[in-house]
């Protein structure tokens, strides 16, 4: 699969489409209606999840299966602090984010030096253990019943939740963007492309990989905390492998290893999910088949397709969806 492009193009002209999309999103609460505004909030949660998972998998080549688990850690930490100690969610969410970062530091330090396969195995195990703990400690977590938590800020309002989620998603995307253009981002791609060469040039391979894992875990914790306080009911669905699969499918279908891919994939699948909801439980099966098709035949995802199409039409590269 040598077709993956890891280019992060620069230049001011590519900022325009993003600003246009942001302006459009800012107007959503005015005209979108309660139902679709809810979908937009969920969509932004998935944008954060898929983009931060892609930072790890698409740019350093490490597949974590604990991304949903870290979102669950963020949600349950903040939720339990709010319920037991009355801590305000806006303070609880950063704490949850910190706990998610600490756990990813521990897991990463433990297994990343052994290579990528170990990270995948250990994160899958972590995710399963978190499920067991949540189900067994039902006095604290309310198990599968779900933990009732306060709304994120003030009285319940989808517009408030939407703007907070949008701010967080923009912040996450800006940080990822900045990281990818920094020296650290260069080292991320160095350890993905050729670990031996990177090592020989003095790149501290293990430390770079752990750093990427911690950053991505913290972002998942932030997304999960906000999502939990938007839903006001935190259930084991957040740290589940089902949600993990959705995040992975969004990144794969959108286009792994590109900046814009996971954003496109997350919004596309969230909107698609609304339309095929009538097919009930079939929709996970359909998503998984589509994701398999992309992973097997179109590893560049939708963004890869769009880039190729634009190139065929002779459009200037780096414009529009090609970023």
């Amino acid at each position: 699969m040598t077709t993956r492009h890891l280019k992060v193009s620069s230049g001011r002209q590519e900022l325009l489409p993003w600003l246009a999309v942001l302006a459009l999103f800012l107007t959503f609460p005015a005209w979108l209606g309660e139902y679709w505004l809810g979908s937009a909030i969920v969509g932004l949660f998935y944008v954060m999840m898929a983009a931060s998972w892609n930072l790890l998998a698409g740019f350093t080549g490490q597949v974590s299966f604990a991304h949903a688990a870290f979102a669950g850690v963020g949600a349950y930490t903040s939720g339990i602090l709010a319920v037991k100690l009355g801590l305000h969610p806006l303070l609880g969410v950063p704490v949850g984010m910190g706990i998610a970062a600490l756990l990813s530091l521990g897991l990463g330090a433990l297994c990343i030096r052994m290579g990528g396969i170990y990270l995948s195995l250990t994160t899958l195990a972590f995710s399963e253990i978190l499920r067991l703990v949540i189900n067994n400690e039902y006095q604290v977590t309310r198990g599968t019943m779900g933990l009732k938590v306060p709304f994120i800020l003030g009285d319940y309002s989808k517009a408030t939740a939407f703007y907070l989620m949008l701010a967080a998603a923009v912040a996450v995307l800006l940080i990822i963007r900045w990281l990818l253009k920094s020296d650290l981002g260069l080292m991320f791609r160095a350890v993905q492309n050729d670990e031996v060469a990177a090592d020989s040039l003095g790149v501290p391979v293990t430390r770079i990989r752990v750093t990427a894992f911690v950053i991505s875990g913290a972002m998942a914790g932030l997304a999960g905390g906000l999502y939990g306080h938007y839903l006001t009911l935190i259930t084991p669905h957040i740290p589940s492998l089902d949600l993990m699969f959705l995040v992975l499918a969004m990144a794969v279908i959108g286009g792994m290893g590109t900046f814009v891919g996971p954003v496109v994939g997350a919004l596309f699948l969230e909107v698609l999910a609304e339309y095929i909801r009538v097919w009930g439980e079939f929709h996970v099966l359909i998503f998984s088949l589509v994701a398999l098709g992309f992973a097997r035949f179109l590893p560049g995802g939708i963004v890869g397709l769009a880039t190729a199409w634009l190139a065929r039409r002779g459009a200037p590269a780096g414009k529009g969806g090609a970023a």
Binding site: L110, R113, M114, E128, L132, F282, S288, L292
Partner: protein, 287 residues
């Protein structure tokens, strides 16, 4: 004391089947450096097949089991050919593809077989008095016997046949083996099929005791992964020792410590191994 011996026996029976399942993972990792995240789902499918062949085709338990394992073997060959082969040299995509496949299979089972537990008929009934101390189900003893037989057969294949020699050569050094005339594509294909068949064998042997539901596969995969890491990646002897250790720890731990956290013990072992001896008990691969 009698209780203790019974938990011990349980641990050995379960441990041997863990070992059988882990051998499949270890074979594929050793040869191809691919972790098959759909391992547990193939285990389940073999369990469903053995129940289906026994009820729908009226086969006896043994022919139904053999047919189920053969079906999983063929499925494994097809998987390797269509999905894994294009990912050679890109470990990340093989992880992603097998993970997606496991989600597809879980959801497909839900529609095809339904959410309720299914099991094939027992091979034997009754119980035997062990050591004159306690009664133990004949079905479990028969499972132990068959699993030991399959493992012994696998080691014979590995050490006494040409195929086994090739497998060991490739898992030691892939490039040298291919320079000496081994066709790596064929070895990959056969190893993947055989690895899947071992998952299937564990499935058909254990399903009469623990019926299968569409979602138990994650636990099966994880158990096999823990055993492989504990024994040392790519070490077959390590799988047997690791399987027995995990089976004993889980059963004794569940009996004397906390049954709700039975599967937690595997995770604790995983953490301890990664911390103190990351290459596993019998691992030779360098860091």
């Amino acid at each position: 004391m009698n209780d203790f011996l019974m938990y011990l026996t349980n641990g050995v029976v379960i441990g041997i089947i863990y070992a059988l399942s882990a051998l499949g993972v270890s074979l594929i990792v050793g040869i191809m450096n691919v972790v098959n995240f759909a391992h547990g789902e193939l285990y389940i499918l073999a369990g469903y097949f053995s129940a289906l062949f026994a009820s729908a085709l009226g086969l006896g338990p043994i022919p139904a089991m053999v047919a189920a394992v053969a079906a999983i073997f063929v499925l494994g060959l097809l998987m390797e050919w269509t999905l894994i082969r294009p990912t050679y040299g890109d470990d990340m995509y093989s992880l992603i593809i097998t993970f997606i496949l496991s989600i597809i299979l879980q959801n497909a089972y839900l529609f095809i077989f339904g959410p309720y537990p299914q099991k094939p008929p027992n091979w034997v009934g009754g119980a035997s008095n062990l050591f004159g101390l306690f009664f133990y189900g004949n079905q479990r003893l028969a499972c132990l016997g068959v699993a030991v037989g399959v493992i012994a057969g696998f080691f014979l294949l590995l050490h006494k046949t040409w195929f086994g020699r090739v497998v060991r050569a490739v898992s030691m050094d892939r490039e040298v083996a291919s320079m000496l005339g081994v066709n790596p594509v064929k070895v990959n294909l056969l190893a993947f099929g055989l690895g899947c068949a071992l998952a299937g064998a564990a499935g058909v042997i254990l399903t009469p005791i623990f019926p299968v539901t569409p979602t138990v596969g994650v636990g099966v995969s994880l158990t096999a992964f823990v055993v492989v890491v504990l024994g040392g990646m790519g070490s077959f002897g390590g799988c047997v020792v690791g399987g027995l250790i995990l089976g004993l720890v889980e059963n004794l731990g569940a009996a004397y410590l906390d049954s709700g956290y039975k599967h937690m013990f595997g995770f604790v072992i995983l953490i301890l191994v990664l911390f103190f001896r990351p290459a596993g008990l019998f691992g030779q691969k360098q860091l």
